[in-house]
Symmetry: D2
Subunit: 281 residues, 4 copies
């Protein structure tokens, strides 16, 4: 019997990285099952993600320590994840329910292998849906924004949250919050960014007369709709679509883009390289 480990890292590019990593894996008796790498010519950073199996009896602490030397040698930012360690996601939502429903359905059917300890909303509307899927729901009104974020931070802390998913959460988080959880907040914007930032993108799309609409899942930064893009999905439309019909088509596209982004993030397939993401699908 074996257990599966995922190692992901980035570091300044130089010769010998892959060799050192593969030596390390041989040393711990590992067998590589999936491996991807990328050298970013803009940032001169090297990225790698490797999944490998080790004996069930292997002491993972020892594995980690063995890798630490490699990590140090190459100045890596690295992370080891065991199969059993599931990413813990807190979902935030307002009143649009399609993305929430999609995530919860995928979670329930096993297609989205994360833990969802909590749903937070600034509206009480979707409590019933959360309940049916068996996920605790907390209503945090935003009349007092600062107080709301204090409460949110406390919940993140209490539930050991790894990633916050904004599944059509229509409030803007504070700059401090975005900075503190940088790279761990995923938002779905209902347009093909950088087109149609800000409010009412389907109305903007209708007015501009575009023939394809899209949705963008991205990490949240303090700059609105400017964070690194993880995934985008598009759909063909024509002149006859009203803004409401664009929004209806858009709902499918949003749900798909967000679900993929959350899954890839949870599988440690997404790496930041400046304002861009490296996604090892």
């Amino acid at each position: 019997m074996s257990q599966s480990l995922t190692l992901g890292f980035s570091c300044p590019d130089q010769p010998g990285i892959v060799h050192s990593v593969s030596s390390f894996i041989v040393t711990v008796g590992g067998n590589i099952t999936e491996s991807q790498q990328y050298e970013d010519r803009d940032t001169r950073l090297f990225f790698m993600r490797v999944e490998f199996d080790v004996e069930d009896s292997t002491n993972l602490e020892t594995v980690r320590n063995a890798f630490a030397a490699v990590g140090e040698r190459f100045s890596m930012k690295w992370k080891f994840v065991e199969e059993s360690q599931k990413e813990r996601a807190l979902i935030m939502v307002s009143q649009y329910e399609h993305c929430l429903n999609d995530l919860l359905f995928r979670h329930r059917s096993g297609a989205l292998d994360v833990e969802i300890p909590l749903i937070v909303s600034n509206h009480p509307d979707l409590e019933e849906m959360a309940k049916w899927y068996g996920i605790p729901f907390v209503h945090i009104p935003v009349a007092d924004k600062a107080a709301a974020e204090v409460q949110l931070r406390a919940l993140i802390d209490e539930h050991n949250i790894d990633v916050v998913v904004l599944a059509r959460y229509m409030q803007i988080l504070s700059q401090e919050f975005c900075a503190d959880f940088a790279g761990n907040i995923i938002n779905i914007h209902h347009s093909f960014l950088p087109s149609f930032k800000g409010a009412k993108p389907y109305h903007q799309a209708h007015q501009r007369g575009v023939k394809v609409i899209g949705a963008t899942a991205h990490y949240v930064t303090s700059e609105l709709d400017e964070g690194p893009i993880i995934e985008q999905e598009v759909a063909r439309v024509d002149h006859a679509f009203t803004p409401e019909e664009l929004a209806a088509v858009g709902r499918d596209v949003e749900a798909q883009a967000l679900a993929r982004a959350v899954r890839w993030h949870a599988e440690h397939r997404v790496y930041l390289s400046g304002k861009r993401t490296i996604v090892f699908k």
Copy 2:
């Protein structure tokens, strides 16, 4: 034996339009083979395109006169086109040859049923290609922009040009020119507008880290990259694409979007409704 006519019009919406048009067609002994209509709720305009067959012996002047009364009654902007009347396109190009080659190949193989009396370029490079396809090529340097446009206007006049196609023509036409030929200049922009207007869109796309790129065929107005969109095409990309590789993928997408836009325009399928187009595919 019969001949085919295409009637296209727009007018303020009101009841009875379709009935009057179909009455007219019955009157001239026509048989409808294709018909599309659209009521724009924003502009309150009604658009219709109908193809119908009439006897070969039918006097088309009579048909036109018969319709004039209908057109006047509903304040229509209308156009009758006979099967034999092909749209006359002047293609403008700089040094990128993919869109030109695509249009000329489609023209040669019969897939693009227009007449191309002339290719105009601000560079001499593509003369050989034009020659091989048997299309006259005129090199108009743009050192003196005003003089160049005078020459261009003279050629448009001389060759009875209906539509100017900018197949990666990298110069900006004057506001006067754009205004005078409004609705009859088609440009291909190498991005998914309104994203990445202006120069070097593939570099912009690379920097922004988008996961889908696109191209936009649009009518040219005096405002850069802001004209009514006729068609858009997209392609999926990922982090590993350099700006040059984005451009390579983009070339296919550009050629396809432009070819469709020109074909639809030439078949009188595209109508302007404010800043948007109605496209009866």
Copy 3:
């Protein structure tokens, strides 16, 4: 105030049909809001769908009677539908829940404007889901196939069912059943038909090494996976997808194709022409 009517018909093609229909609409004081038509050159049939508004006070019985003469004159198969008459769909399902969940979610959110009086399954598993969405659920085991169909027919009768939707129902219906409800049973097949008919299409797709997978929503006929296709959706895959991963991607594609097919059918946009469908989107 006005009410909306939808008229759909097919008939042997001949001149004057559109004129007669538009005359009729003028006669009853109607205003056309959407209209599509198609002449099938293979079957020589003409198809038309027209939506129009009439005064709220209009007697619909009178409208129907007025059209009967037109219908008879052109040997039409025609149907009038009032805005308030919603298609009544019975959904059948086995154990895969993704298509059922998708239909019920769209129904609940208003995107799928049908009535769903009943869900029928040969397994008890999905009763909880049906209950949450507030739809009655009947478990009909299929140990005795004939008895099961008797019970199904009774339910269809009792609930005035218009259309039966097989949302991954894994049993084969009898030839008699298929014949009696021809054109009113929609199935989703989990392949891009006609590729991979029959069982385990994702395993077949994996073995054949296809680079794109698909799903097909079609009317059910007595010949397995051979009925007229209403909609198909596809997704790009690669060599690294296991049959299970193909199935996971396929679930999204199946749900989308089926949802569109059911919506178009419910909006009376789908017409049969031999073994093909005309879909007025």
Copy 4:
């Protein structure tokens, strides 16, 4: 200054392969620029493709010899390719010119980095096109099939051809020919295989009423349209498309699928694993 090498191989899967390959690369002073691997769970084969740079002064014969030991140890089928060694492609065509034109245009513009020493056709029609692109053209009539293949083999030999590209070549090659050049003949079939094998696929697609059409680039085996698929491309269509219009849309899809397949093959990105291909894009 450095030179780029591409190493591709397959072998029975076992631990230590990647480590041995990366050790080898370190030994020869190489720096990995791109690397992909795949373990086929069905065939238990491991596939790897790695690009790496070595000093310009490096003796490539030495590199090859150094790798031979690794290859033998793991029972690899392996191949080293230097940057300057371009795949030599012979294109075969009948009368449809769109795929030929597309390949030649990409070749001319540098997007398809192969050598094309020769075009062979069973018709004289496309000689002019070949001439314009500056590629020798040989007309081999197929009245006597055996003689034609003798001549073809002689040309392949004479021109050191690596790969034969059937760019809508409408003749069937003999079983012996297919066997002798297995894995080195690429065909474009004008359907989404395995749908619509054999003749007139667009007519078959029209009759079946599909809503999406496709094209398939595949290696040729002695079994018609059954060879391993390299790439597929699709396009959405509807009921209104005649077989001729399906074919027109199909031409674009065919050209794209074939161009990608040829490029990937030429870049040594395609590996055979039973009846499937591994494509390291």
